[in-house]
Every structure is written in structure tokens, then in C-alpha cells.
């Protein structure tokens, strides 16, 4: 029998971006707030202190900031006629664990999604008609427009000190920024980072080809900065240990230092670490959450009653808790009905590796997780994707991210991987190789979804989350087309044909066995129609109004951009709805 604790006002599941933002925004209310983090405590000091913070074996290879699969993982299959099997070793995505969650180990690319990316269905139909949308594609609009979210994007950027250059200030195009971006009310809070040499090569080549390069907006701060909450961010060291690492300089925006200190200003805030929430509890008619049950470090099962529950776990964690707790109708792919588990999407990719001449030096170890140049010429609806025969777009970029030899010792295709001649090939390549890559949108389909696995159970005895996903023709075409663009840019940089160097990330079936990106979306999507969405526009459950669910699990499909910008903006948006509307009159907001 679970021990039952005294009730609190709010329970927040997860200490990452979304939970952190809600906890910070709730602090002035003085409400009793308990935040649960399944991982251990961690902070810039002492956990990210150098030189141990740059231990690539520990963080890049052994993934000490990524979830412990012995406790929680998912099962995977490509299609419904297969038996799903557990992800036993870290595979295609790296969901964070420990305080700060994925927000502590991310790279830092921070986008506003485009206007079209907030209304992919109506935007596509408006331009091309319904016939472009395949029958099995569950293309859905966001229930909130870019204009509504714009002030919240702005808040998230200011809190994080995002470094970038506006391309569209209040409708006026600004040189140096992204000419395709939606109108912004304000410039970025800090200027772009210093460009690396490969970025200057990419900028020149893409401009020659008639494209529009600009610096990627980063949460790796280009200069010392104090945010509107009075929290200081340091200047990025360009040390090249970002992705999968914590940042020793507090240059990489992370909830562990931007949100939690402010949440703690509320004397009634408490963070419980090594505490895994295993279930959301409901009252007898299933219409109200009564709190959560969690398992502490000693394995004790404890019930924490609460008036309001906010889910801020990773995509897979949120979807799992919803399904396991029996909240909302589980999605049924056969009838395309039900909402929990619906509209899962991943992200496509690929690129072209290029070898510069031996007098060109890249200094690959000077960089950061998000340092790079980008073009949006083939992203969103900035180009005629219908002519290309598919829906969606992607960003194309070059980056200077990490030169740590443990994870970066490239050779050109055709060179030996070991033995005789291998070391020469590496030495020839290390300072002279670059990669043009693309990150592509993935639409949602009937046959790509989450449900509960009938066989496998996690360490807490719960049926595992099961993912059924495969690439569809739309995405295969997109990946092939964008890889060809990457190759064209690579050839423009080197001035010669780069035979066979450009390729999609994946041919044939989606392969779960190797890391691709952590950008998963869907499963608990928001929308205007309870038949096709689990949440209303405030990320509030249609079925259980004292439950809010945050993160990229609310996105109805994926874009060719990183998700953290809208994840942060939507968390501020939902937190506003909670503090300004819900707490005054608890109940359904729509």
C-alpha cells in the first residue's frame, strides 16, 4: 500500500524546461508546489565543473545525462504487423534525466516556428488544395497562431539570452537575419555568435547559389548577459562540449539555473529528486486528477495528492503516464479514433560530407552545440514543396559543434576505418572536413503512433510505451531532395563534384538502433477538436481539466526545426493560462 502524503496545491512532473517554467511562474502565488525529478540532483557547480565536465566518454558515449533504460524505456516496431521489442541500449533519441532534464544536455538551437508551421493543414489546403494530403496523413493545425504565441517566444528568448539576428522586425526585412522568419516584435537579446571558418564558406556558397544564409539562433550565449529575471548567463567558451554535456559557464540556457532558483523563491516549493512518478491518480468518475503516485530512491511507493497536476516529462514519459493512468481515449490506428498516442512524428535528416583543400583549416574543436549557419530557403512553405511532390520542408546548415576526437575523427568515404592507412586518412581529414546537413519535417500518419506494449514491463511493473513508426513516402522524398541540395552546396564550397557524398540519414525503414535526434513530437496533441486532440489550446486535458500536459508531445506533427523554442514559448503560454485564468476559476478553460 502506498503511503499517502498531505495534499499540496500543484504537482509538477519533471524538472526540465516546461516544468521549470511553470514552477518559476507559479512562485509568486506562494502555492504549495512539489516538483518530481526521476534523476539525481545536478547543478553547474559542482556537477558541470571543468575539467570533468568535458569527459566525452562519460557524457557523449556513456550518456550519463540520458535516461536509465534499465528503469524506463520503450518498445519499438516499424509496423503494426510486427512484434515490438524494447530499446535495450540508447538508440535513436536521448531523453534527459536528472535536474534540468534534456534542457541541461541539449545543444541550444532555438527557433520560432514559422507561421505555416503553426497551421500546416489549413496553410497547405489554402495554397495547394486538399488533394496534396495523403489519405493516411493526420495533418492538423495548431490551435494557437504564431501571432498569439509571439510574445511568449519573445519571453523565452529573453530569459535564455538567445543569440541571433532578426530577419523580420515588425514586418520590416533586416539584413543579416532570416528573411523567411515570421515578424518579430523585438531583436534577439544578444548578437549572433562568432562565425567559424566553415560557416563563412557556407555563407558564401549558399549566397552564390541564390539562397539566404544566416546565423542559427542559439542558446549558447554570445556574450555575458543578465536576463529579465536578474539571472546572469556567461559568454560561451566555444569549447565544443555542449550536446550531451552540462555547461560549466552557464552560457547554455538550462532550466536548472534559469528556472529552479526562481521557483525556490517560493518557500512552499519543493523539488524531490530520485523520485519517479509512475501514475496520475483520478477520482472515481475519472474526470479529476487527485494527485500522483511516485516511487522514491528506496523503492517506496508514495501517493502525493494535489489539486493540479502538470506533466513536464519528455515526450515518451508524458504519453506513457497518460496511457498508463487511463486519461483520455487511447488512439486506435484502425479506426483513426482516440487521442492518446495519436500523431507521433520523428524528424528526418541527412547531408553531405566535404573535404576542403589542405590549406583550409577548420579548427573543429572551436565550436558549440548550436554554432552554425542555416538556410530556410527549403523550409516550411518557403518554397513550392507541392511541385517537389511532398508536404514539408527542412533547414539546411553547416555547424561547428564538437571536435573532441572521441566522437569526431572523420575520414572521407572510401577510406579505411582501421589499420594501415587509417590514421593518415584521419589526419588528412580532421582539420579539413566539413558537413552540410539537413533536418527535415515529418508529418503525422495513422500508422505512426504510441500505445501500451502487451508484453514488456518497466522496472516499476508498468506496461511499457510502444512506438510504431516508419518513414512514409512523403518523408523519403523530402530527405532525398534535401540531401541533393546539401550535395549541391558542398560542391559549391569545394568547387568540384563530390560524388556520392550526399545521402539521406536513412534509407528504407526507420532504424531505431542508432542516434539520430531527440526531436520527437506528438502523442498528446493540442487542438480545437476533442475528437482529434487530447488537449485544448492551453495544453489542458479535455477529459481531466486539472491536468496540463506540456512539451513537444503537444505538436500535431514535426517541422524541419528544433522544438525547444516553441516548447519554451508554449510553457510560458500555458503557465499564463494557469496563473491568470485557471487558478482564479479552476475548470475547463475552453
Amino acid at each position: 500500500m502506498a503511503t499517502k502524503l498531505p495534499a499540496v496545491d500543484v504537482v509538477i512532473v519533471g524538472s526540465g524546461w516546461t516544468g521549470g517554467i511553470v514552477a518559476k511562474e507559479l512562485a509568486p502565488t506562494g502555492l504549495k508546489v512539489v516538483m518530481f525529478e526521476r534523476g539525481r540532483p545536478q547543478d553547474t557547480v559542482p556537477d558541470f565543473a571543468g575539467p570533468q565536465a568535458h569527459d566525452a566518454l562519460k557524457y557523449s558515449r556513456r550518456l550519463h545525462m540520458v535516461q536509465d533504460l534499465s528503469q524506463e524505456t520503450i518498445t519499438f516496431r516499424n509496423s503494426m504487423d510486427q512484434v515490438a521489442l524494447p530499446i535495450r541500449q540508447h538508440g535513436f533519441y536521448w531523453p534527459g534525466t536528472n535536474v534540468g532534464g534534456s534542457g541541461a544536455h541539449w545543444s541550444g538551437l532555438t527557433w520560432r516556428w514559422s507561421e505555416w508551421e503553426h497551421k500546416m493543414r489549413s496553410g497547405t489546403i489554402g495554397k495547394y488544395g486538399k488533394s496534396l494530403i495523403p489519405e493516411d496523413m493526420n495533418l492538423q493545425d495548431w490551435p494557437i497562431s504564431y501571432d498569439e504565441l509571439e510574445p511568449y517566444y519573445d519571453r523565452f528568448e529573453k530569459v535564455c539570452g538567445i543569440s541571433g539576428k532578426a530577419g523580420n522586425l515588425k514586418g520590416r526585412k533586416v539584413a543579416g537575419g532570416n528573411p523567411f522568419e515570421a515578424p518579430r516584435q523585438n531583436e534577439y537579446p544578444t548578437p549572433p555568435m562568432t562565425a567559424s571558418h566553415v560557416m563563412t564558406l557556407f555563407d558564401k556558397a549558399t549566397a552564390n547559389l541564390g539562397y539566404h544564409p544566416f546565423p542559427i539562433p542559439t542558446a549558447n550565449c554570445s556574450q555575458d548577459y543578465v536576463n529579465p529575471d536578474g539571472i546572469a548567463l556567461g559568454q560561451c567558451h566555444y569549447c565544443g562540449h555542449c550536446t550531451a554535456f552540462g555547461c560549466e559557464a552557464n552560457a547554455k540556457a538550462s532550466p536548472h539555473f534559469l528556472m529552479l532558483p526562481l521557483a525556490r523563491k517560493n518557500p512552499n516549493f519543493q523539488l524531490r529528486t530520485n523520485a519517479t512518478v509512475v501514475k496520475i491518480n483520478l477520482d472515481s468518475d475519472g474526470k479529476r486528477a487527485t494527485g500522483v503516485t511516485y516511487v522514491d530512491a528506496r523503492g517506496r511507493e508514495i501517493e502525493q495528492p494535489a489539486d493540479l497536476v502538470v506533466l513536464g516529462a519528455f515526450v515518451t514519459g508524458n504519453v506513457h503516464l497518460m496511457l498508463h493512468s487511463g486519461i483520455g481515449k487511447p488512439y486506435d490506428p484502425k479506426t483513426n479514433t482516440g487521442v492518446i498516442g495519436r500523431n507521433y512524428a520523428f524528424q528526418g535528416g541527412g547531408g553531405a560530407r566535404l573535404l576542403l583543400d589542405s590549406n583550409t583549416f577548420t579548427n573543429p574543436f572551436m565550436g558549440s552545440g548550436a554554432l552554425g549557419s542555416w538556410i530556410d530557403d527549403f523550409n516550411g512553405d518557403n518554397y513550392d514543396f507541392a511541385k517537389a511532390g511532398y508536404i514539408g520542408g527542412g533547414g539546411i546548415s553547416i555547424g561547428s559543434n564538437s571536435g573532441d576526437p572521441l566522437t569526431y575523427h572523420p575520414t572521407m568515404p572510401g577510406q579505411p576505418r582501421w589499420g594501415k592507412g587509417w590514421k593518415k586518412a584521419m589526419v588528412d581529414a580532421y582539420h579539413h572536413v566539413a558537413g552540410v546537413s539537413h533536418q527535415g519535417a515529418v508529418m503525422s500518419y495513422r500508422q505512426n503512433y504510441f500505445d501500451l506494449d502487451p508484453t514488456y514491463r518497466d522496472a516499476f511493473g508498468r506496461p511499457m510505451l510502444r512506438l510504431t513508426f516508419d518513414w512514409q513516402p512523403n518523408e523519403q522524398k523530402l530527405m532525398a531532395a534535401h540531401s541533393a541540395v546539401c550535395q549541391r552546396i558542398a560542391e559549391e564550397i569545394t568547387g568540384r563534384k563530390e560524388g556520392g557524398a550526399g545521402m539521406p540519414r536513412s534509407f528504407g525503414h526507420f532504424n531505431s538502433g542508432f542516434y539520430q535526434t531527440t526531436h520527437n513530437t506528438g502523442g498528446v496533441v493540442f487542438g480545437d477538436d476533442p475528437k482529434t486532440s487530447a488537449l485544448n489550446k492551453y495544453c489542458q486535458s479535455w477529459d481531466v481539466p486539472n491536468l496540463f500536459v506540456l512539451g513537444s508531445c503537444v505538436f500535431p506533427q514535426n517541422a524541419g526545426r528544433n522544438p525547444t523554442g516553441p516548447v519554451g514559448a508554449l510553457a510560458f503560454w500555458a503557465a499564463d493560462a494557469i496563473t491568470k485564468k485557471y487558478l482564479k476559476r479552476p475548470g475547463a478553460l475552453v
Binding site: 534499465s70 521489442l85 566555444y238 572551436m366 582539420h431 538502433g513
Partner: protein, 248 residues
């Protein structure tokens, strides 16, 4: 195997007094080879103790047979040449031993509950084996395979050219192993050898920061905020890369 090396090895085996016909011979040969391998391992293990090395000599996880295999494997992958010393001299075998003995080697953060089945290639690793069990079983598989097909020679007793040929076949999945999928075994050990060559020397490999010097990597202590523009398209080099140990 080339015909020539096949002949050479048979000659060698004969000279060493190993018969091929007796049932017990492969095992006897293995024991002898193991002993030789172990002795050959000593200089490499001792080398890890010398100034700049972070790890004590001697093996914790690997038995002498396995150590001999791993040493021969890393020296095949990372041979001595004008760019660096060979793998064993850089502590790569010691690195692998320590990793196999670690929590990671014991699969502490893997999901290892059944039921187990092979799955599709898209479903990733589905073995019941922890990384250290996989390596252990795989090494025994390989040596059994060699004994069966080559009359008593374990991998570490092969000549360099034969080792290269054999590892090439392992990598290509052209050898059938009874207990483990050959590519999974190869890739695990290959990755371990690479990690031992490139990881921070605090883990026992990459002795003297050899691979970092080879590539011109300045180490883990550098900050480049004021250098990235200044050194754009110019080779930034340091005399001595800095490791975690150097900075601790």
C-alpha cells in the same frame, strides 16, 4: 586467409610442436598460446604504469586468453606507424578491460528483461548479453572458429597479415559465430578500441595523449571565445594537449 600465410602458420605450428590430429590438441594449443599471449601482454600492461599513465597495470576482467585476443585485436586495428604507437602500447587493451569491468560493461543502464527474440535489423540490440558477456562469448566463439578451421591457432597467434584478413572478414560479417551475431560482436569491440584510442587518458587508453597529438586536438581545457575569429582558417596548435588528469 592467403595460401602463403596458411602454409606459414602450419610450418610455425609444426615447429612449435603442436599436432593437429589429436582431439586434445586445440585445447593444449590454446593453453600454450594463452601463456605466450599473457607474457606478451606484460609490457603493454606495465606501460600503463609509467609516468603519465593513470591506470594500474594488470587485467581485472579479461582472463589471459581474452587479454591475448584483445591485445592482438587492438594492435591490428591500431598498428604502430609514423602516426602513433600501437594500441597495446597506448593502453587500449587496459582501457577495454576497465570498461568491460565497469557498470557499463555490466549493462547497468540497459534494459535486460525478457522475453528475448532477434527482431528486425531496425529494432537494434536484442541480446540477453551485457557488453562484457558479449565480448567474452564472442572471443571464445572466434577462437573456437579459428581452432576448428585452422588447426589450433587462436587469433593472437596469427601473423599480422592473417589477423588483418580475419578482422576484415569479421567486420564484413563473413564469419558465422555460434553464440553471437558477428557484426554486433565486431562493432562492440571495434567501438571499444576506438574509444580507448581517443578517450581522455584518465581511462587508461590514449597514453601520452597520442591520438590527440596525432590529430592536433588541443585537449579538454581550451576556451576559444577569443580565438575562433583570430584563428579562422589558420591551424591552431598547442605543444601539449591538456587532459582531465593534467587539469585536475
Amino acid at each position: 586467409m592467403t595460401e602463403k600465410s596458411e602454409t606459414d602458420r602450419r610450418t610455425l605450428l609444426k615447429l612449435a610442436g603442436f599436432g593437429v590430429g589429436m582431439a586434445a590438441a586445440p585445447f593444449a594449443a590454446a593453453a600454450q598460446d594463452t601463456h605466450a599471449g599473457h607474457q606478451m601482454a606484460m609490457p603493454a600492461a606495465n606501460a600503463a604504469q609509467s609516468p603519465g599513465g593513470a591506470v594500474s597495470p594488470g587485467y581485472i576482467f579479461l582472463n589471459p586468453d581474452e587479454a591475448a585476443f584483445v591485445e592482438a585485436f587492438v594492435d591490428t586495428l591500431i598498428p604502430q606507424d609514423e602516426y602513433s604507437d600501437k594500441g597495446t602500447d597506448l593502453g587500449v587493451a587496459i582501457f577495454i578491460d576497465r570498461q568491460l569491468d565497469s557498470g557499463w560493461g555490466n549493462g547497468d543502464r540497459m534494459y535486460l528483461q525478457g522475453p528475448f527474440q532477434e527482431g528486425t535489423p531496425e529494432q537494434g540490440y536484442q541480446l540477453k548479453l551485457t557488453p562484457n558477456q558479449l565480448v567474452r562469448v564472442g572471443i571464445a566463439d572466434v577462437n573456437d572458429h579459428l581452432r576448428a578451421s585452422n588447426g589450433g591457432a587462436s587469433f593472437d597467434t596469427l601473423e599480422e597479415a592473417d589477423r588483418i584478413t580475419f578482422v576484415t572478414a569479421l567486420e564484413a560479417g563473413k564469419i558465422e559465430l555460434p553464440s553471437v551475431p558477428v557484426r554486433t560482436f565486431f562493432n562492440t569491440l571495434f567501438q571499444l578500441a576506438m574509444d580507448g584510442f581517443f578517450a581522455d587518458p584518465i581511462y587508461g587508453g590514449n597514453r601520452g595523449k597520442a591520438s590527440w597529438k596525432m590529430l592536433g586536438y588541443p585537449g579538454v581545457g581550451e576556451m576559444y571565445a577569443d580565438k575562433i575569429a583570430e584563428w579562422r582558417n589558420r591551424p591552431y596548435r598547442v605543444d601539449e594537449p591538456l587532459s582531465i588528469q593534467d587539469l585536475s
